[in-house]
């Protein structure tokens, strides 16, 4: 965190000054480790074994925060008798289909509380005129389509609040994690039992009524074929310790781009629409009713999904969207599974996707398996790159590594390339959403130079041109473009006004005035809203994201700086900061609490933050039979975006690779999984292409683990940092880090060139031989790791080979993000040049016995 988010790290240092213990778990000793109380070197990719053992420590020593766990989590829920654990199936859960690699989650479900629940649910299905079908929806990354809440369960289910029923979540969890012992941690992660004990004690001592512990991760956890489950393990641990929804608790994802949170909320992502509404799936959603049925009427705020969906369609198609035409639902294109970026790159290579916009991103350096990226670009009809600098993605046709080896020839590449210069952050006004969901508006300072334009201007202009060219068309396929509400006020230079777009995102009522809250949205077409979770950012026609009230003029929550979705709540699920009866868990950790005397004795939730709860819902409120949506949220259900109001220790639905986390080895690993017979995540998504061969597991040819990471002085793929003299001077050349033991084993000299090889590529870098990389002892063997900062490419002031060329494509099945951990060889000296490089890598593949008939497998198991 000190490396990648230095300014955010000042708060960790503040905490340390006040007595907090800082624990840093990372394969490398970094700037963070240097100021931490404990550094725990871990083998890259083994986090579930580590966190799972901490879960086991809490459960087997009765160290959980029992009152919190019983009231606020699903620990008491009884799971279907058919459910089988990895304990029963040697690493698989029930419902696995080896043919497709998918799970059918029906056996993970909550047992209904009564026959009435089953009947109600069946009735609901009948009201939609067909049979139950939503259970399969996780298969198209559906889990991510609930980015601000969990997948919808069918009923709240039967509970045993004594937690003694052998089929209750708490007992299932206990059995599942029992094999995650400190000894196993030593064998899998390379972390000794004393260090484990020290961390486990510090963590549990610092959790409970009076104290809370926070987890931070700089999104390294997401870069694994088990990434979502790594974060789930941390969530389970934090829920058991009562560290969610309370001040000083939580799990902080430290994301890496100025508005990467914003581009997830208002997504440029294939599977969701603004506000985490799912993109319609062709096999399930052919009408508005079918589209919203999974969530509609369920307990919690997703129950009002129809209002959010209709309001979005109104903001897209304006007057054309009417109740008679399903508010233009049919204008939405449908997805049919995975259309994520890596799958799309494969389509480009295969010639079924021919036009590509790359906007402020540099995939030939920043995406994994750079060769596949470049092969895709070389097979397009046209490519539009918008950036500040001449990045590698724009120049692939003349200077990519494949040109040097002869695999690509400039004169044979038919791709037409447009490079359009873009405006910087000070040359346009607009809002970024930072990693804690805070929108902050930037004012424009200067005009962009020359042909540089904002994306707002470019896309508005492009849309206008396309609409003009298609005007008069009677082709049904052109209706969504021609009926689009695409008219924004412009400034003197013809640029659309960002605040007008923000107001459309915020939403407007029948009179055209900005709405104040998503609770005002209607499903009858009388309101429009471009992103329901952002509703309120423009309340009373005031741009609240632009607020800059100094922190010294307000309390520590600082609610008047920027605006945080939803409803300016700074801390999510803060109802959990109070005990079930509404009083603070402790004075020390008081945040939101129930004031029974407020509002003339009607009572309301009060505190320094906006309560993440219905403001006047009493703690003893029990929803009446048949209540729907927000009315069905009980007074002790803090997780209001979940259909059961509880934090999920066990996911009965919505996670593609199991209801609980299980440790699997990365697709390339020198280590045999000691926990289960199942070596790799059985649901991992493989990318089957000859340019993506996987190193066989346990290979003596590729004996070392490598992992990639960022440096303070550079930014992702380098377009915004390798081009600046200051930053180049601070980090002037690519390097890799290895331990002295590995250096001795391979004859590597500090400061000299080395070559790093996988089945995909070989790259060169200078080697830093340092104790910062630890040789990890796993049982009776050592595992060595090679650390690779990944920022480099061929253009800019500092240049070098791209470590992402080494990385294979094997994706997490929930979110389709790649596994950055792989195996490699490392040798002294520079890599071969030209065609000799191709032959060099080919020789490695042959020696390692890579199965080119099934290059995506790695050969460990199916």
């Amino acid at each position: 965190m000190a490396e990648a988010h230095p300014v955010g790290f000042q708060w960790v240092m503040e905490a340390k000054r006040r007595g907090a213990t800082i624990i840093h778990v990372d394969p490398r000793f970094t700037r963070t480790s240097a100021v931490s109380d404990v550094h725990v070197p871990i083998r890259a990719g083994s986090d579930i074994a580590w966190l799972g053992a901490l879960v086991n420590y809490v459960l087997s020593n009765d160290l959980d925060f029992r009152e919190y766990v019983v009231a606020y989590t699903n620990a008491a829920n009884i799971i279907e008798g058919r459910f089988q654990d990895t304990e029963d199936l040697d690493g698989l859960f029930s419902g696995f289909d080896p043919e497709t690699g998918h799970y059918d989650p029906t056996s993970w479900a909550y047992q209904p509380d009564s026959a009435q629940q089953v009947e109600d649910d069946a009735e609901r299905d009948r009201a939609y005129g067909d049979t139950p079908g939503s259970q399969e929806s996780h298969q198209s990354a559906r889990s991510e389509s609930h980015g601000s809440g969990g997948a919808p369960v069918r009923w709240k289910g039967r509970r045993d609040e004594t937690l003694q029923d052998p089929s209750c979540v708490f007992q299932i969890l206990k059995r599942h994690f029992a094999r995650y012992t400190p000894e196993m941690v030593q064998e899998v992660c390379g972390i000794g039992p004393e260090q484990f004990q020290r961390v486990a004690e510090a963590l549990t001592r610092n959790s409970g009524r009076d104290r809370t512990t926070a987890f931070c991760y700089a999104v390294g956890w997401t870069h694994h074929s088990t990434g979502a489950q790594m974060i789930r393990t941390a969530s389970i641990l934090q829920l058991l310790l009562g560290n969610i929804g309370r001040p000083g608790g939580g799990i902080m994802a430290l994301r890496g781009h100025a508005s990467i949170q914003g581009s997830t909320d208002i997504p440029t992502l294939f599977n969701i629409l603004p506000g985490y509404l799912p993109m319609p799936t062709a096999s399930q959603h052919q009408s508005l009713d079918e589209w919203v049925r999974d969530d509609e009427g369920k307990a919690g705020f997703w129950g009002n999904v129809r209002s959010y969906a209709v309001s979005l369609l109104k903001s897209y198609w304006g007057d054309a969207a009417t109740p008679e035409n399903d508010f233009c639902f049919d204008y939405l294109p449908r997805i049919t599974g995975d259309h994520s970026t890596y799958t799309t790159v494969k389509s480009m290579i295969e010639g079924s996707c021919k036009g590509y916009f790359v906007v402020g991103e540099n995939p030939t350096v920043g995406s994994s398996n750079g060769k596949m990226q470049r092969l895709g670009l070389a097979n397009l009809d046209w490519l539009v790159v918008r950036d500040l600098q001449m990045i590698e993605t724009a120049t692939f046709w003349k200077d990519s590594p494949e040109i040097e080896t002869g695999e690509l020839v400039t004169e044979e590449i038919g791709t037409e390339v447009f490079f359009l210069p873009a405006a910087t952050h000070v040359e346009k006004s607009g809002s970024f959403t930072q990693t804690q969901r805070m929108l902050q508006w930037r004012d424009k300072a200067v005009d962009p130079p020359g042909d540089a334009r904002s994306e707002l201007q470019f896309y508005y202009d492009l849309g206008q041109r396309i609409r003009r060219k298609l005007a008069g068309s009677t082709d049904e396929m052109d209706r969504p473009l021609l009926d689009l509400a695409w008219d924004y006020p412009t400034d003197d230079e013809g640029d659309p006004e960002g605040e007008a777009v923000l107001k459309e995102i915020n939403g407007t009522g029948p009179d055209g005035a900005a709405l104040a809250s998503y609770t005002e949205l209607k499903d009858d077409g009388s309101t429009a809203c471009g992103c329901w979770i952002y509703c309120g950012v423009y309340a009373d026609e005031v741009n609240l994201a632009r607020r800059r009230k100094p922190h010294w003029d307000q309390d520590w929550v600082a609610s008047e700086w920027g605006w945080v979705w939803p409803a300016n709540r700074r801390q999510l699920y803060n109802r959990a900061s109070a005990a079930p009866d509404g009083s603070p868990w402790s004075e020390r950790k008081a945040y939101i609490q129930w004031d029974a005397d407020a509002d003339d004795g009607k009572g309301k939730w009060v505190g320094p933050d906006v309560p993440d709860f219905i403001a006047d819902r009493a703690p003893d409120y029990v929803p009446p039979e048949g209540a729907k949506g927000p009315d069905a949220i009980g007074g002790q259900d803090p997780f209001i975006m979940q259909t059961d109001g509880k934090g999920w220790l066990f996911a009965p639905l919505g996670v593609a690779d199991g209801p609980m986390p299980a440790h699997y080895e990365p697709p390339e690993s020198p280590v045999r999984n000691p926990l289960y017979g199942q070596q790799n995540n059985p649901s991992r998504r493989k990318v089957d292409h000859p340019a993506n061969p996987i190193n066989p597991s346990f290979s003596e040819i590729f004996p070392y683990v490598f992992t990639t990471y960022r440096l303070t002085e550079h930014h992702t793929a380098g377009g915004m940092s390798r081009t600046l003299p200051y930053l180049t001077e601070l980090q002037p050349e690519p390097f890799c880090e290895v331990s002295p033991r590995l250096a001795a084993e391979r004859g590597l000299t500090h400061g000299d060139w080395v070559t790093i090889v996988t089945a995909r590529a070989a790259i060169e870098a200078k080697v830093l031989v340092t104790d910062r990389m630890r040789s990890l002892r796993l049982g009776d063997r050592f595992v060595e790791q090679v650390g690779l900062p990944y920022h480099w490419g061929g253009n800019g002031l500092t240049t070098g080979d791209s470590p992402n060329d080494l990385v294979n494509l094997t994706l997490d099945p929930n979110v389709y993000i790649q596994d950055k951990v792989g195996t490699c060889d490392i040798r002294p000296g520079r890599r071969p040049r030209g065609p000799e490089l191709t032959a060099y890598v080919e020789a490695y593949r042959r020696r390692a016995g890579v199965d080119m008939a099934h290059p995506e497998d790695g050969g460990a198991d199916g």
């Binding site: 208002i266 603004p274 993109m279 449908r334 473009l481 992103c531 700086w561």
Partner: protein, 240 residues
């Protein structure tokens, strides 16, 4: 420049901003020469002559001595200044306007103040009022003026014809118009009404990557336009 002055006042008020506090406190404070002269005198056994006094005065003017004897013990303020550097003013003072902004690198969201002089960015600094960053910027944020003013920024449209070996110039208006034509053509060429018997109403010919470095308003227009086009392969760094 009132805004800039207010900034500096803020900085000195900032708890935890010791560097700035030091600087303010040490401003114009020099070593107490009288004290030092007495000290040297007491160590001397013979009466000082005229030349000796001049030597002592010159010696007392050395930055290291000023640092050792004055209040600027860290040598980051007055002690390190020369006659010339005393007359220098920061670029921020001369700015015509100061604009509120946010750092464009990682997602911490550090607040920036952009100082503009003659229509150009003169300096970018951290905004101490921010409850997130309290005025700090990391090396990248501190270098963001270079990001904006970099001489290697490309400011003209570049165009590469199919199979060409070099870039060509192209007028911006023509370029956007050509792109619109290509969107229309490719969209139609890869249009798909149905897949596996289900209505899809989409084009599989057009993809997009990027958004995490852009504004919310820009992402909104992108997704809206792409959705109306029927393009679904829309992705950004959040997937990577």
């Amino acid at each position: 420049m009132a805004e800039a002055d207010r900034n500096r006042t803020c900085l000195t008020r900032m708890p935890g901003h010791n560097g700035f506090e030091d600087r303010a406190r040490h401003q114009t404070r020099y070593a107490s020469a009288t004290h030092l002269r007495r000290l040297i005198g007491s160590l001397c056994f013979r009466r000082p002559c005229r030349g000796y006094i001049a030597e002592v005065n010159a010696f007392l003017g050395w930055p290291a001595i000023r640092q050792a004897t004055g209040r600027d013990r860290l040598g980051r303020g007055a002690a390190a200044m020369s006659k010339r550097s005393e007359t220098l003013e920061p670029r921020t003072v001369k700015a015509d306007k100061v604009v509120d902004s946010v750092c464009p690198y990682c997602a911490v969201g550090c607040a920036q103040k952009v100082f503009v002089k003659d229509g150009k960015v003169a300096q970018i600094e951290g905004n101490p009022a921010s409850p997130i960053s309290r005025g700090r910027l990391c090396p990248k944020g501190s270098a963001s003026k270079q990001l904006v003013t970099s001489p290697s920024r490309v400011t003209k449209v570049r165009y590469r014809r199919p199979y060409a070996t070099e870039w060509e110039d192209l007028d911006l208006d023509t370029a956007v118009d050509m792109i619109a034509d290509r969107v229309i053509k490719t969209r139609k060429q890869f249009w798909e009404w149905e897949a596996d018997g289900n209505r899809t109403r989409r084009t599989m010919g057009i993809a997009s990557l990027g958004g995490a470095t852009l504004d919310n308003e820009e992402n909104y227009l992108m997704k809206k336009l792409y959705t109306a086009m029927g393009a679904i392969q829309i992705e950004n760094q959040a997937r990577i």
